[in-house]
Symmetry: C2
Subunit: 289 residues, 2 copies
């Protein structure tokens, strides 16, 4: 059934066994027969309600299809800062060859240390690209298990040592009870002066007030944020006006063919489901990713 059909005949809700997309909390209550929810995003924090956690419902996500676009987006935002491309655009608007002192502000990735916060599919791809740019790549994950192209893995316990080494942080953490506000004032202060923070995970994994303070004090060179807290960032929010904040409205995972690739995961899982096989991308409802 399609969403429109469900609206017309709400009594069908209780007969749903499989949902591809999402269910609002009140719909979930009605969908008493639900066994499996496949979402088309990677982050599932929107969907994991207390009710879903307790019920015998499998949740699977589209993890994997975001690795390339989000990595490209993060490096694009990073290089926009280090190569002063925003300033170049402003100068181009004036039609002037000379003006801004680019040589005084440009920087080079090669030789710098890139810290990957959350080393899943996205983090692994970002690490590979960072290594190709000749950056030293370090990472942090819950388990601290080795990841290709990452020289050294840290764990939440050794996070201050991790942050103290990062010239650039790429945060791709999922939002869970353990990652909420993971980067607070102490963590931001541990970063070397001039560090660049990139967030393409979830806005709430960084303390927004502390982040704004690190930006305005000049401790951070820049923050490149595809996700914010609050999100959407409301009109008039002070973050909009901070000159070294670079904001993109949560589209880093987008790319042509997104739904085609998400559909392929669903269809593969549907095939497994019908054959009684184990599904791919099953989310741990307790851990939240």
């Amino acid at each position: 059934v399609t969403p429109d059909e469900l609206k017309a005949r709400p009594e069908l809700m209780e007969r749903l066994e499989i949902v591809y997309g999402g269910l609002k909390p009140e719909e979930l209550k009605q969908a008493t027969g639900l066994r499996w929810l496949q979402v088309s995003s990677a982050g599932v924090n929107r969907w994991i309600t207390d009710e879903l956690r307790e019920r015998d419902v499998l949740i699977t996500n589209a993890s994997g299809i975001h690795a390339q676009p989000i990595t490209e987006h993060m490096f694009g935002m990073l290089l926009q800062v280090t190569r002063c491309l925003r300033e170049a655009n402003q100068q181009q608007e004036k039609g002037l060859w000379r003006g801004y002192d680019f040589n005084a502000h440009i920087d080079m990735l090669a030789g710098k240390t890139l810290g990957i916060l959350g080393a899943g599919a996205i983090g692994a791809h970002a690490a590979k690209v960072g290594a190709a740019f000749e950056m030293t790549v370090i990472g942090l994950s819950r388990s601290g298990k080795p990841v290709p192209f990452i020289e050294r893995m840290y764990t939440p316990e050794t996070r201050l040592e991790f942050f103290s080494r990062c010239d650039v942080v790429m945060n791709v953490l999922p939002l869970t009870s353990k990652t909420r506000q993971f980067m607070g004032g102490r963590e931001l202060a541990s970063l070397p002066k001039g560090a660049i923070v990139i967030n393409a995970g979830r806005g709430e994994t960084i303390d927004s007030e502390a982040l704004m303070e690190s930006l305005t004090s000049g401790h951070l060179r820049a923050a490149c944020l595809d996700v914010t807290d609050p999100e959407p960032l409301p009109e008039g929010h002070p973050l909009w006006e901070i000159p070294n904040a670079y904001i993109t409205p949560h589209y880093s995972g987008g790319h042509p063919g997104y739904m085609k690739r998400a559909n392929a995961i669903f269809l593969d899982n549907l095939n497994r489901y019908l054959n009684g096989e184990e599904l791919r991308n099953v989310v741990d409802k307790t851990e939240g990713y």
Copy 2:
């Protein structure tokens, strides 16, 4: 002697054996004892005059130190286009979360074909990064010799086949008699519709009129130009106003520590010179690079 001392005592000019930097044509005439000119740039087209070509003067450049910054700059400009970062900046200026339809315009590098035009030190590094982004990398050079991370090399004779495969062209050609206007109307027309042209070589290697036409007709999605023809691009030049032209005023090779790295090449060469050994980075004055 320093440039200031030379100004005060021009009679020293004829006693110069080694110059690190550059010499104007009239200075070159006076410097009758010159044996070796080390320049701090990679491109040497400014320095190779007819007189220098004929005289028994070695010319060496700083080739090698540009590979990382120019590669970073080219990927930064490219990702700025494919991730719509200029549009994101414009939207941020308005303080609005929603507005521009990013999903309709973003694109993904992974799966696309990257053509490297001129496969020296810069091209080789760009190929490595392109491969890490999961692009198919092809290349074109005079010799067509294999280069790591480049799947297939083309030569000037097969250039139209090369261009017909390129979703993205990264042009890092030096300026020589053979590369002047290398990309003309036919070559640009051979590119697939929607291709992106990046030039961080020399402006004169692309026919400027033909490029502007390909941009305004929409055949090209964008041109990212760190070099232009003419250069500097004068005030009022129509290229400034073309919306899908992205211009940076020839600083892609710049990076902190540039002169330190260029000096290291000079000092290494000076040591070789004094010991009668072969110099590094000797320019072929006939070929012009």
